[in-house]
């Protein structure tokens, strides 16, 4: 019976039947991980989400990167030979010294030199025939018949990275067919980008479908200095541009590759740059099935690169400096498997089939223990398996926004006294919404209360007493203490709503919470919010709608209170404080200031802070700006999410940090330890198969015997009587 079952279920009889990977992969230097959402865009000029960054940042190498270990995040050259030089010029063309008054700066020039000798991953676009002509630039439908990936072509070649490849990619940001999400943002600073866009638009109309060789079109703001150097000119000062140079938007794209993918018939076979990004990075994409599996393999042409030797003081203790100076990348292949549900993902992690995993709410209690004071430790079961817990505070901020165009919470259209009432009301709401309780109940402690827009780890944020929001917290016994409902009631009374009633008319105070209706989980959150408002005697009304209508409300300035979040694009306070900058108003201006908050002093300080280098002076201005925000309370500073992730003991050199997105090249796997653990944890239990077989026999035998007995008895009375009894369902 066992043999029969093995024939039917061959998988159940192999050495480790639950191993989801091919037997041939055993013992190989492969990192196994999972992805939950399919990457939608992998074109470096388009991709802008974290899901996509997990792949793209390993393939495309921009000029700069963040130091893997240093915190706060520090920029360093990646494919650039050194940090770019920045020069400032006045309107008359004279060069200004660093630290000059930003108002005098008419333009700034950033000069970037790339390392000579860096080569692209093997790619068919570089392949040439015996006459030196491109081999694959006039492909027919028949040529593409059996081609599913660029790796399927017989001839692959490479070439050296040059400065023009970066210029080509910057020009692609203006390509009407590419629709880069940062085009408008960059065009504000980069002269000629909008003109280039208009020119390309005209060209496309003249020759629809034809490949546009962007080398033929000039872009005023970008110039090639020599084979390895290019210069970007910005209007005024734009110091944040250095952060953009860590992103694939400003990585290299060879014109040959753009031409290769623009051939007829390519898109219909999903052979596009968007599907098959390429570059000079440590890995290259060799399998792209976003519905099931994505595979990266080590780029054989990757430039000489070594593991960092410097980091934070605790890094040495945690073994993060042990591989100092060793060549990168360590891992030969990375297999990303699509998991749509958290339970199978978690089970496979526990079986050792994923090297690292996040912790979902479902598995939180199994993975970690929460102490009385909210401290989190690994559960005994996890610790016994050699699993390690990694935590980090994300560069994100969640906030409740008050629409400043709303008469009640924004004081719109009111006199000075009315605006002051609205301000006090906003402060009262800021106090009564106890983010610590929310984090504890709904996030399993995976967050820290926000005291201001800037998350910890980004320049401008303070730790300890200096960092608390004095409106909501006070410093007692060496830690922040929530001021409580009594303080909220006091502020509410000052606002003219004692016990939630208008002091003049006795009308009840009703506040409206605009939100998206996204399921059962939200109901409990909304109930909790209603409870908080009830403590003030305030009526809390939820206006739930779908995401599109919610967006419309925000765009039109029709919402009252809403919950939003922002993931920092780069670790600079400008990228967070601009969310409250007046000219960024969402309603009318369609910027990113969703509350439509406007304060002339804040805006003036922002304009100064934006162009300053980090330092005491900048910190002082940020402190003033944060002080204004705490006083005006256009946001309830809600929380900064805290990421908890687990990794097996065999995975080395993994340091959390959501801004460092090219971290795969630094990670290392102890393959032997993984193999041993997998074998230990996945010993098949085969007796249930025998029990099932026995059970079938036990069930079937009496039935067969009974049938035989009845068949023999049928000639006498059996079936007739049976049919008389039968017939009812």
């Amino acid at each position: 019976m066992y043999v029969c079952l093995c024939c039917l279920l061959p998988a159940a009889c192999g050495p480790i039947p639950n191993n989801p990977y091919p037997a041939g992969e055993g013992g190989q230097n492969i990192l196994y991980t999972a992805f939950l959402d399919r990457p939608r865009r992998l074109d470096p000029a388009q991709s802008f989400t974290e899901d996509e960054a997990a792949f793209l940042y390993q393939i495309v190498e921009p000029p700069l990167q963040y130091h893997y270990l240093k915190r706060p995040y520090a920029l360093e050259p990646a494919v650039a030979s050194a940090m770019p030089t920045v020069r400032y010029f006045a309107a008359d063309g004279s060069e200004l010294r660093n630290g000059s008054d930003p108002a005098t700066v008419a333009r700034s020039e950033i000069e970037i030199s790339v390392r000579p000798g860096v080569r692209y991953q093997p790619h068919p676009a570089f392949a040439r025939d015996e006459h030196g002509e491109p081999r694959y630039f006039s492909l027919s439908k028949a040529d593409l018949a059996n081609i599913r990936s660029p790796m399927d072509f017989t001839h692959l070649d490479s070439r050296e990275l040059v400065a023009n490849d970066f210029i080509y990619e910057i020009k692609r940001l203006a390509h009407p067919g590419v629709q880069s999400p940062i085009f408008d943002l960059i065009a504000e600073h980069l002269p000629g980008l909008k003109v280039l866009h208009a020119t390309l638009n005209e060209e496309i109309k003249k020759n629809p479908g034809a490949w546009l060789n962007l080398d033929k079109f000039a872009l005023d703001g970008v110039k090639e200095v020599d084979r390895y150097t290019y210069r970007i000119t910005f209007t005024g000062m734009y110091p944040q541009f250095l952060y953009w140079l860590t992103m694939p938007f400003f990585g290299p794209i060879p014109p040959e590759v753009d031409r290769f993918f623009s051939q007829p018939g390519m898109a219909a076979r999903n052979l596009t740059l968007d599907r098959w990004p390429m570059g000079t990075g440590p890995y290259m994409l060799v399998e792209n099935n976003p519905n099931a599996r994505m595979v990266l393999e080590k780029n054989p042409n990757y430039r000489p690169d070594t593991y960092p030797c410097e980091g934070m003081p605790e890094d040495a203790e945690e073994g993060l400096l042990a591989d100092c100076g060793k060549p990168l990348p360590f891992i030969d292949k990375v297999v990303f498997t699509r998991e749509r549900e958290a339970i199978p993902y978690w089970n496979k992690f526990l079986q050792g089939y994923y090297d690292a995993a996040g912790i979902s709410s479902d598995n939180f209690d199994q993975a970690v223990n929460m102490g009385d004071r909210g401290e989190v430790t690994l559960s005994d079961d996890m610790a016994a398996r050699g699993i390690r817990l990694m935590t980090s505070v994300g560069s994100s901020t969640f906030y409740f926004g008050f629409n400043m165009r709303d008469p009640l919470v924004g004081g719109a259209g009111a006199d000075a006294a009315g605006r002051e009432r609205a301000r006090l009301l906003r402060q009262a709401i800021s106090v009564v919404l106890d983010s610590e309780e929310y984090i504890s109940i709904f996030l399993n402690g995976r967050g820290i209360p926000a005291m201001q827009p800037i998350p910890p780890g980004v320049f401008g944020a303070h730790e300890g007493e200096a960092g608390i929001n004095p409106v909501v917290y006070e410093w007692r016994d060496g830690k922040p203490q929530w001021r409580g409902v009594s303080e909220a009631k006091r502020l509410l009374a000052l606002a003219g709503w004692p016990n939630g009633r208008d002091v003049r008319t006795g009308e009840p105070l009703i506040v409206y919470f605009d939100t998206t209706d996204s399921g059962m989980g939200d109901k409990s959150r909304v109930d909790w919010l209603a409870k908080q408002f009830r403590a003030l005697g305030v009526q809390f009304v939820v206006r739930a709608t779908d995401w599109n209508r919610f967006q419309d409300k925000i765009l039109q300035g029709n919402a009252q209170i809403f919950l939003l979040g922002w993931n920092a694009d780069y670790p600079d306070p400008e990228n967070l404080l601009f969310l409250l900058y007046g000219p960024q108003g969402k309603a009318g201006g369609q910027g990113n200031n969703s509350t439509n908050y406007m304060n002339a002093e804040y805006d003036r300080l922002f304009d100064r802070m934006r162009v300053m280098p980090d330092g005491v002076e900048r910190q002082k201005i940020i402190d003033q700006m944060v002080g204004i925000l705490r006083h005006d309370a256009p946001w309830v500073f809600w929380f900064h999410p805290k990421t908890y992730s687990l990794q097996h003991g065999w995975l080395k050199n993994r340091k959390p940090g959501d801004i460092v997105r090219n971290g795969l090249k630094y990670q290392r796997v102890d393959v032997a330890a993984r193999e041993a653990a997998r074998e230990r944890w996945n010993q098949p239990v085969r007796w249930p198969m025998a029990v099932v077989a026995l059970l079938l026999v036990v069930l079937v035998t009496p039935a067969v015997l009974s049938w035989r007995r009845r068949e023999k008895a049928a000639a006498c009375v059996g079936p007739d009587k049976a049919s008389e009894r039968g017939g009812t369902a």
Binding site: P22, D184, T337
Partner: protein, 325 residues
């Protein structure tokens, strides 16, 4: 019969047109082209100009049904509806919002869906009919009582329990199958036997009870009494006569399930990470991808129309009294 089939196929044209129109109106009643553009460009830096450029590039800037800016027939043809929906009739599904070719994606996904759904369907049918026959054979006995009780218990348990419980027991506790995943070729069986087994067990209770009801209705008829009187064994009466005469309701229920074999199961594919079509429509609705939604609805409609025609034809095969005309 040919005339009947041709007539039914001609009826399909207005049905498909109606389905297309209905899908179009429902979709754009909820999502405006601006919403779609905003979703694709991301909420962070989607300026009004970027939204407009995206709409122009993708053809979403056209009026829905009537274009007064055009001349003659183009007033009706140069519209969003004609542009986005009517090309379906040539099975030209175009591209999704993220640029992938929809036909290619469907072709890639239909195989895995079919690979798990077909054996589940076939084995479920065999298991349920066999079990129901067994219950009918032992009708009004203790075996029948406990069999029906077992069916009621099995049909009362949520399908999620079977999946999560099955994964935990078979894959985690006993380590006999991968928790989830998929591979083509010879490795396919390793991944599929557990979802198929769970699918068969999970659906057995309801199906067996339903088939038992049908068979019991047949077994009390006079022709069965006559068959027995002729000396046929009970087993022969069941399989030769009861099963054949119960085929009409069985076929009615079975053939209409065929489209689902292609379009896949959302829950099963999600939990077992099978890269099939089950989640394709849901993902497209979430990402406001009209190209994918309209294609999947269209394919679903075509498959249902074909299945219903096949159902009618199958009636004539199992019951000679049925004539199509």
């Amino acid at each position: 019969m040919l005339a009947y089939i041709v007539r039914r196929l001609l009826y399909a044209v207005p049905i498909l047109l109606g389905v297309n129109l209905f899908t179009f109106m429902l979709f754009f009643g909820v999502n405006s082209p601006d919403d779609i553009a905003r979703m694709q460009l991301g909420a962070k830096y989607a300026s009004p100009e970027a939204i407009q450029r995206w709409k122009v590039e993708r053809g979403y800037d056209k009026p829905m049904f009537y274009n007064p800016a055009q001349e003659g027939a183009e007033k009706l043809t140069d519209t969003l509806f004609v542009d986005k929906s009517l090309r379906m009739f040539t099975f030209d599904f175009g591209q999704a919002n993220d640029g992938h070719d929809i036909a290619l994606e469907i072709r890639g996904r239909v195989g895995p869906s079919f690979a798990v759904a077909l054996p589940t369907f076939a084995l479920s049918l065999v298991a349920a009919i066999t079990f129901a026959m067994l219950l009918v054979f032992f009708r009004a006995t203790v075996l029948d009582f406990w069999g029906v009780t077992l069916c009621v218990i099995m049909m009362s348990i949520s399908s999620m329990f079977y999946i999560i419980g099955g994964q935990w027991l078979v894959s985690k506790a006993w380590a006999l199958a991968p928790v989830s995943g998929y591979a083509g070729g010879v490795d396919m069986g390793r991944f599929l036997w557990l979802p198929v087994f769970i699918g068969v067990v999970g659906g057995l209770g309801a199906s067996a009870r339903w088939y038992r009801t049908i068979f019991l209705e047949e077994i009390s008829r006079d022709y069965i009494r006559t068959a027995r009187a002729k000396g046929l064994s009970e087993l022969a009466a069941l399989f030769r006569h009861v099963l054949k005469n119960a085929m009409i309701p069985i076929l009615t229920g079975v053939v209409v399930v065929i489209p689902a074999l292609f379009t896949g199961s959302l829950v099963m594919e999600s939990f077992f990470a099978i890269p099939g079509l089950g989640s394709y429509t849901i993902e497209a609705i979430r990402s406001q991808d009209f190209g994918v939604v309209r294609s999947m609805v269209f394919i679903g409609s075509v498959l249902y129309i074909i299945s219903l025609i096949l159902t009618d034809i199958s009636y004539t095969l199992v019951d000679p009294r049925v004539r199509l005309g």
